[in-house]
Every structure is written in structure tokens, then in C-alpha cells.
Amino acid sequence: MRSSVIIFPGSNCDRDMDVALKKFGFKNQMVWHNDQSIPKSDLIVLPGGFSYGDYLRCGSIASKSKIIKSVIDFANSGGLVLGICNGFQILTETGLLNGILQQNKFLNFICSNVYVKVKDKQNKYFKDLKKDVLELHIAHNEGNYFCSDDELKSLEDNNQIAVTYCGIDGTENETTNPNGAIKNIAGIFNKNKNVLGMMPHPERMIDKYLSGEDGSLFFKNILDNFK
């Protein structure tokens, strides 16, 4: 499975993503934001970081960069596009995903492990995933997902909520919500479920000695579903 990771000025999880993808057998290439086109890919990843220093709004400047037109065309033709953290913020700013990531409710930068519940498995990312609750890592200041009531209803009606913050046993409530995100939302899909944006970093959970392996499950699952 071929993948491309797009690098923006200020991206800082691009190399971690490259390491993770290659570890599980993706043929990965790095693509600079100023390039016009993306090499033939089955998956495009917008990595985490602080593209353009989070100027104006997180992800807003990156969402207008040269490469983005190719990303949008790829997504609209059904290609898999994954945005992690800042990548999720960029996807909402391009309009590929609904809503916006606002500043965390309690104004603090959060860097910690969290549990997320997989809410939908009828898609190429989570289909047949063995677990329902994953332990992943978050590191963000703007992860407080917000959208209008109409958009939320539409997300729920179409099962577009991908993952939600929860406890180790899957309980979702205010105490398991780190940043104030509406309905504990940690990640969402577009209507066709080929575009996934999420705040947690699976690429940081791929080593059983350093962190945990729930991120490994995520990447292996994408590969399994591609075969």
C-alpha cells in the first residue's frame, strides 16, 4: 500500500508518521507542501504539528497551500485521507470535514495518553478492528471539537463520528473528556468515510516497550482492509 505524508512548514510529526507507516509495510513518500502533485498513493496523511505556527487559526494557512488542491481531488475521488492532530485541523479548514477544533476548554495544552472508543467500523480504517477501545496519545492546545447542531445531527445520522474520548472501560462522560469537545468527539469522517480526521496520534503508540501498541493495531488494520 502506497502512502504519502505531506510536510508543511511547522509540521513536526511527519517523521514519526513516516517511521510508523514504514514499520508496518507501507511504501511511504514524503511530499513538500509547495509541490503541485502527489505521487501515486493509496493513502495521504496530513501529519501533526504546528503548520505555519498556528497563525490566524490552526490549519487555516496550510489549508490554502499549493498541494491541497491535489489532496481535495484525491479525497473527492474516494482516496483515503488521514489527518492527525494539526492534520485534522487542516482538514476542517479545507472543508473536507465539518466543524472546527477550538481552543481546549480549560486553556491548557494537553499532553497525555487517552482512551478512545471506536464508534464505527463500517469503514476502511476500523473495519474488523479487534478492539473497541484504544489507548492513544494526545498533544494539543486546540482539540475542542465544535460544530453546529445541524452538522452534529448529520454526523450522528450518518455514523460519521469515528472515535470519542472515553475511560478504559469505554465510558463516555464529562470526566473522560479532556478538552471540552462536543459529544467527546476525538475524530470524525466525511460522508463517504474515506477521509478521517482525529486528534489522537496512533503513530506515537507503535512500540510495546516505549508506549503501547494500540497505534500498531490501527496501521495494521488499514493494511489488512486494503488487501
Partner: protein, 77 residues
């Protein structure tokens, strides 16, 4: 021509920074502060002589980049 734009959060959208500023002001004995909403202010130099044209172009900029209409409103002043 210089066009000025103010971008603010829509009513009802949580503004934790505004809230923190309000609480700080209250703590500084400005007891009369009931609410603070924080926004952004832009001065845009547009190469255009006709004010109407300049404003209409800035309006387009607001919709496409300067404001995110999911949570923000903008005003050209």
C-alpha cells in the same frame, strides 16, 4: 486604501480566553465586568481606489480565509 476588519466569535460559542480575561478583570476589582469576548482585528491595504470594490474584495477574503464561519462573524468597518 486601508480596509479594517473585525472578526469575533459568534454568540453562544464558548470563548475560554474571554472568560479568563473577565475573571482576571473581576479579580483586579473591576467588579462591573460581566462578560468579555475576544476577537481579531485586521488592517488590510488594498490596491484599489473604489471603496465599494475594495470592500467587496475584502468581504470575499473574510469568507475564504480571515473568518471561519462555523464559529466566527466578521464586520468590515
Amino acid at each position: 486604501m486601508k480596509i479594517k476588519v473585525i472578526v469575533t466569535l459568534k454568540n453562544g460559542v464558548l470563548d475560554p480566553q474571554g472568560k479568563a480575561i473577565q475573571q482576571t478583570l473581576n479579580g483586579m476589582n473591576f467588579g462591573n465586568v460581566e462578560d468579555v469576548r475576544q476577537g481579531k482585528y485586521f488592517e488590510i491595504e488594498v490596491k484599489e481606489k473604489d471603496e465599494k470594490k475594495a470592500k467587496s474584495s475584502v468581504d470575499d477574503m473574510c469568507k475564504k480565509l480571515l473568518a471561519n464561519l462555523v464559529i466566527e462573524d466578521y464586520k468590515i468597518v
